[in-house]
């Protein structure tokens, strides 16, 4: 058996036919396994990037407050050995409460919210923790199949410390009935699906202010450095 880091027990493959746009875009030839060199052990770092006070508070980026259910998303970013990943950049984007993206190609007939852009970013703290304040995103239709709806989600993009750790996912809400019909989510093996579900957490919830959800992330790290004389 040839070596692979694809981890198809816990990760989607490239081709998943029910998600139609994978068919012409997924590579079909075998990936070439390679040892990690300095090129893979390094990667862009953003630890000194200027991040403004409202970058992680999506409810304060405009003159007024956005409509919708205010929510906190909080969690911790660690590598696959459990080490916290400090000062790493997280970028998020999402629809407004009505399910509409502030994007010129989104033609869903739902209202834009003049007080909501839907993008945020933050650097994790020294313990790998992050916290966003936003409003709960909405579901929206797409063209994959008849009566297709994407379940409410927040896109996450993370860098981590190396080229290997670069990562994107979507955070969903535990218990959302639309997950059962969504081929993007269903492309994840069953045993791994829970890792992209945010759970309601009363301890993160702020009294008379905002619901709290926890979403922790684990990023891959480079292989252990082989000892060389």
């Amino acid at each position: 058996m040839s070596k692979s880091r694809l981890d198809l027990a816990n990760q989607p493959g490239y081709t998943y036919e029910p998600y139609h746009s994978t068919v012409k875009r997924a590579p079909v030839k075998p990936l070439i396994f390679m040892p990690h060199t300095l090129s893979e052990r390094t990667g862009p770092l953003f630890g000194d990037m200027p991040i403004s006070e409202t970058d992680h508070d999506l409810t304060r980026q405009h003159a007024g407050e956005p409509l919708g259910q205010r929510m906190i998303v909080e969690g911790r970013v660690v590598d696959d050995e459990g080490n916290p990943l400090p000062r790493t950049l997280i970028e998020i984007w999402q629809t407004n409460a009505a399910g509409r993206y502030r994007h010129k190609l989104d033609d869903f007939r739902a209202p834009l919210d003049p007080n909501f852009t839907g993008s945020g970013r933050i650097l994790t703290d020294d313990n790998g923790r992050y916290r966003f304040l936003t409003v709960k995103p909405g579901a929206y239709p797409w063209n994959n199949h008849p009566n297709a709806w994407r379940p409410a989600h927040i896109h996450f993009s993370l860098f981590g410390p190396s080229f290997v750790s670069r990562f994107m996912t979507q955070m969903y809400f535990d218990g959302d009935p639309m997950l059962a019909y969504d081929p993007v989510f269903q492309a994840i093996p069953d045993r791994a699906k829970h890792r992209v579900l945010a759970g309601f957490d009363i301890n993160l919830t702020e009294e008379k202010w905002a619901l709290g959800y926890r979403f922790d992330l684990v990023l891959r790290g480079p292989d252990a450095t082989p000892s060389e004389s």
Partner: protein, 192 residues
């Protein structure tokens, strides 16, 4: 105990306002990696992203990560005893345009250490995202005609008939790289 990494999901079509805000206005500054003072061979690098039918992918995103013109990564894991070029940013990120193109302004990277003390041929590390890609694909851009290509340890892992998919074509100052996600000319992607 090892933890299991979180599952990947695709970028989706509506990322531009968060990740590549210049896309909406034609501002390509996020693809300018080399300032005028950067050391090395300045080059424009045009990457074209194509699907399995050879059609341009117009809603993809390309990220580049590379060493500076002297072969130094701006990262603490690069312990070579010199400082990274302050006029060079090793990272560039652009959305593909309506022809599937991303145009970067960079320098040809210097050679960086590989395995067992050997140097690698000049190369750029590439991450590709698009709707329909459930997880990132990664490749490397090498420069056709560089004599170091003949002894590069990573190129040697690639079957000879597929190696040409990893070479940018061009000459000093102007290089182009076609990236086929699938199809008969599928680019070699690496399992990193």
């Amino acid at each position: 105990m090892d933890l299991i990494p979180t599952a990947n999901q695709p970028i989706g079509p509506f990322y531009h306002f968060a990740l590549t805000p210049g896309w909406a206005t034609g501002d390509r500054s996020a693809g300018v990696m080399a300032g005028p003072e950067a050391q090395g061979e300045h080059t424009r690098l045009t990457v074209r992203l194509l699907d399995g039918d050879g059609r341009p992918v117009t809603n993809g995103m390309i990220e580049l990560w590379q060493a500076d013109g002297c072969g130094k990564y701006n990262h603490p894991a690069d312990t070579q005893p010199r400082t990274a070029d302050p006029a060079f940013r090793g990272f560039g990120r652009l959305a593909t345009d309506d022809q599937g193109l991303c145009v970067f302004e960079t320098v040809k990277p210097g050679r960086v250490p590989g395995l067992k003390g050997q140097l690698q041929a000049p190369h750029i590390n590439v991450s590709i995202y698009a709707p329909g890609l459930l997880r990132r694909v990664t490749t490397r851009i090498y420069f056709a005609g560089d004599p170091a290509n003949d002894s590069d340890q990573v190129l040697e892992l690639v079957p000879e008939d597929r190696r040409p998919t990893l070479f940018a074509r061009g000459e000093q100052g102007e290089w182009c790289f076609d990236l086929h996600l699938s199809g008969p000319r599928e680019t070699v992607f690496f399992d990193v």
